[in-house]
């Protein structure tokens, strides 16, 4: 099935002077990791909010066009059902902790409590999520006293425990250091392998290039590029919308400009390694 199908979608927040989304046509498949990139205020967050149903059920405004989520028009969804079907994690680790539970274990269970899951099943699910995310060491800690990175992981765990088939993630690493960011991406990849569909807005293009299946580039409220990650990131057009390409891609481009093009433009570290070692091998053979 199609995760989200948008046709001619526009949205203007109540009291905003300019529309946040304009004429969006986009189709996202289920079971994949979709990356969304673009400048600040290019519409990434608004797009995520729309797919999650936070628009228009929470943020009011003027919505035009057609949004179909998992085969059903967005406005036909019951908000509570939509929140069970599509989990969401966003950038601020501090607002995602409930503030009403005393241990991480209890914090992760909140969603399950609200869904009315029986206690024994709840405990098993929390236990398994704790193991998946490797946060065994903090299960007994007070969630209100954790570091930003730890909180972000707990926020992830809470959503994963609810086992929603779709997860929308908005800049989950913006406040994390490189090591923690990489860990979060590994968690996201794990989700995909367990059959979840993921929409991920993110600035760290190096990481997206490694992990995402498709990339959507947004600019001034509209989708300017969409397609498989390699096609989008490797395209000459990519840099035109203010997104900094991965360092290895930039390296590939500069090599081409210096008259030493690689056979294939790398978008991942490993690709760059392979391409350049082939080149070195060839040139040492030539000598």
């Amino acid at each position: 099935m199609v995760l989200a199908a948008l046709t001619g979608v526009g949205f203007t927040y109540a009291y905003a002077e300019q529309p946040a989304l304009v004429g969006i046509d986009l189709q996202l498949e289920e079971g994949r990791l979709h990356g969304v990139v673009g400048l600040n205020s290019s519409g990434k967050t608004t797009l995520c909010s729309l797919i999650r149903g936070v628009i228009p059920h929470f943020h009011h405004g003027d919505l035009t066009g057609e949004v179909v989520i998992l085969g059903r028009p967005l406005l036909d969804w019951d908000p509570a059902e939509l929140s069970r079907t599509i989990g969401c994690v966003f950038d601020n680790p501090f607002t995602q902790i409930s503030g009403i539970r005393e241990t991480v274990f209890e914090e992760i269970a909140i969603g399950l409590e609200n869904l009315g899951v029986p206690r024994d099943e709840m405990i098993e699910r929390v236990e398994s999520v704790v193991e998946q995310l490797g946060i065994e060491a903090i299960v007994e800690k007070n969630p209100n006293e954790l570091s930003g990175g730890q909180r972000q992981k707990v926020a992830f765990a809470s959503i994963i425990a609810m086992d929603a088939p779709v997860v929308v993630i908005d800049e989950p690493t913006s406040q994390l250091d490189p090591e923690a960011s990489e860990a979060v991406f590994e968690i996201i990849e794990g989700l995909k392998h367990r059959g979840k569909s993921i929409v991920l807005a993110e600035h760290k293009i190096d990481l997206l290039a490694q992990y995402a299946d498709t990339i959507t580039v947004m600019n001034e409220g509209t989708v300017v590029m969409h397609g498989p990650t390699r096609d989008v990131v490797g395209s000459d057009e990519f840099g035109a919308y203010g997104v900094v390409p991965p360092e290895v891609t930039e390296l590939g481009r500069r090599l081409a400009a210096a008259g030493k093009p690689l056979d294939r433009l790398p978008i991942k570290r490993a690709e760059a390694f392979d391409e350049i070692s082939v080149r070195i091998g060839r040139s040492t053979h030539a000598h």
Partner: protein, 216 residues
């Protein structure tokens, strides 16, 4: 039963109000703490009550007042006798908010009179009824001194309370006014009384049709 009634009540106030109440309560406490941190001689312990009343309505404001006093009475039980004052502040702030008092600074400043009247006059009445005019707190020493000088006990209570409350409420309402000016539009849109501060009603602020249709 109680659960569904509270849910229905809160839904009438929009989805943000329930999250504003704890913040209002915390503001009541932290306002006082910041005053303490800067060693300022004011209490400022009802900013949150009036702020939530002014932006979310009288009942949420009253709840902030009630729970704040409840939490205070955990460590100082006699303060609970004065909870009704904080409830009244919240209700009054809701009414003032609705009629646009906090939109202009001079109207805001005028609102000090009714707030201080509640705080001072009704506060004194409670002291007289519940504690026979001899309660504790900052005013008690003044009351004692005034009585010792020969003033009637009840008069002494009014004389001590009113000016103290005016001194406390002037900065309180001005802070509320300034904070409301600083609230971003995107948040104001979602607060029950937000439209008062946004000026003209916005045609785009209407609720989506489907939400109302699917709400139980």
């Amino acid at each position: 039963m109680a659960s569904s009634r509270f849910a229905t009540f809160m839904r009438g106030y929009g989805r943000l109000t329930i999250f504003m109440i704890p913040i209002g309560i915390a503001i009541n406490f932290v306002g006082g703490q910041i005053a303490l941190l800067l060693k300022l001689p004011v209490y400022l312990d009802s900013i949150g009550t009036i702020l939530v009343g002014a932006t979310c309505g009288g009942l949420p404001g009253a709840l902030v007042g009630l729970i704040s006093n409840g939490i205070n009475s955990i460590t100082s039980p006699p303060t609970f006798a004065f909870a009704i004052l904080n409830v009244a502040f919240g209700l009054l702030a809701g009414y003032f908010g609705r009629i646009g008092v906090f939109r202009t600074w001079w109207k805001t400043l005028l609102s000090v009179l009714p707030f201080a009247f509640i705080g001072g006059f009704c506060g004194a009445l409670i002291t007289i009824w519940v504690f026979d005019g001899l309660a504790v707190g900052g005013g008690a020493i003044v009351v004692g001194a005034l009585t010792a000088m020969g003033m009637d006990l009840n008069t002494a209570n009014f004389a001590a309370q009113l000016p103290m409350d005016v001194l406390d409420k002037v900065p309180t309402v001005l802070i509320v006014y300034a904070i409301i000016k600083g609230i971003p539009k995107r948040l104001l849109v979602k607060l029950p009384l937000g439209r008062v501060y946004l000026g003209q009603p916005n045609p785009r602020a209407k609720k989506p049709v489907a939400t109302t249709a699917t709400q139980p």
